[in-house]
Amino acid sequence: MTTQAFFIGFFGLAAVWFGVVVFRTHSMMRSALALLFSQTALGAMFLGMQAEFLGVLQIMMMATEMSIMAIFMVMFMMDPGGLGEMEMTHQKRLSLVAGFVAFTGAAAVAVLFDWGPVVSVAPDAAQQTADLGLELLGRSMLIFETAGITILTAMIAATAVAILPIEAKTTTNEY
């Protein structure tokens, strides 16, 4: 087994394990932190796969995203520390079966399908970033621009949904 395979396996296992912990703990803070560790392990796995730019981006983005998620968790939950050990699941058996079937199906395809010849050498980091930039501003420009517009639309929509309506502001003194 190569060093690369070891790191991919190690960080992959860590990502899956922390993903499982997200749904096994009663504490919302621990859930958010477990998801953060899971996504960070994925970032490290990307680095192991020689995708330096995306690995670093993944770690930076997910650290920010999960910190915000943890704050929202504390704001929304009745018992963010999980001391009351509230049951927050339903249709557990169906969910387990669906999750297992999804994993088995995807794993079977991964193992049984013939993926063809594997390329062992990846372009160096600088070349990758240059290629990605050219791709984003060249052939995939339309997709990239659509993603930008979609982000802007989602930001405006999310803010519009979240802010208090004007009539509610004028009738209550709470806000």
Binding site: F23, S31, F76, S95, A110
Partner: protein, 103 residues
């Protein structure tokens, strides 16, 4: 066949399965969003593995990973917008209580 590719695809499959379980089993909106994040993470791992081990010379694979990251951020933004609206209206983000979408 490359052991690295298989390891990466198995990781993606496992994250996808765990995410499906989380999204279906949780009653809290934020926890459901965490499940969806894991599903998207599984897809992201697969895309990067395909880029790295099958087509490292085509940057479109990396571009699709960027798009998935964008979708993850969008899901968070819209999800939290809905969560805030729901919390303000009903004082809870439990989805068991949100069967009737009457506002």
């Amino acid at each position: 066949m490359s052991i690295e590719l298989i390891l990466a695809l198995m990781t993606g499959a496992a994250l996808f399965g765990v995410g499906i379980y989380g999204a279906l089993s949780q009653t809290n909106l934020v926890m459901i969003m965490m499940g969806v994040e894991l599903i998207l993470a599984g897809a992201m791992v697969n895309l990067l593995a395909f880029w790295r081990y099958l087509h490292p010379d085509v940057a479109a694979g990396q571009m699709f990973v960027l798009i998935i990251m964008t979708v993850m951020a969008l899901e968070m933004a819209v999800g939290f917008g809905v969560a805030i609206a729901r919390f303000r209206a009903k004082g809870s983000v439990e989805m068991e209580e949100a069967r009737e979408l009457k506002g």
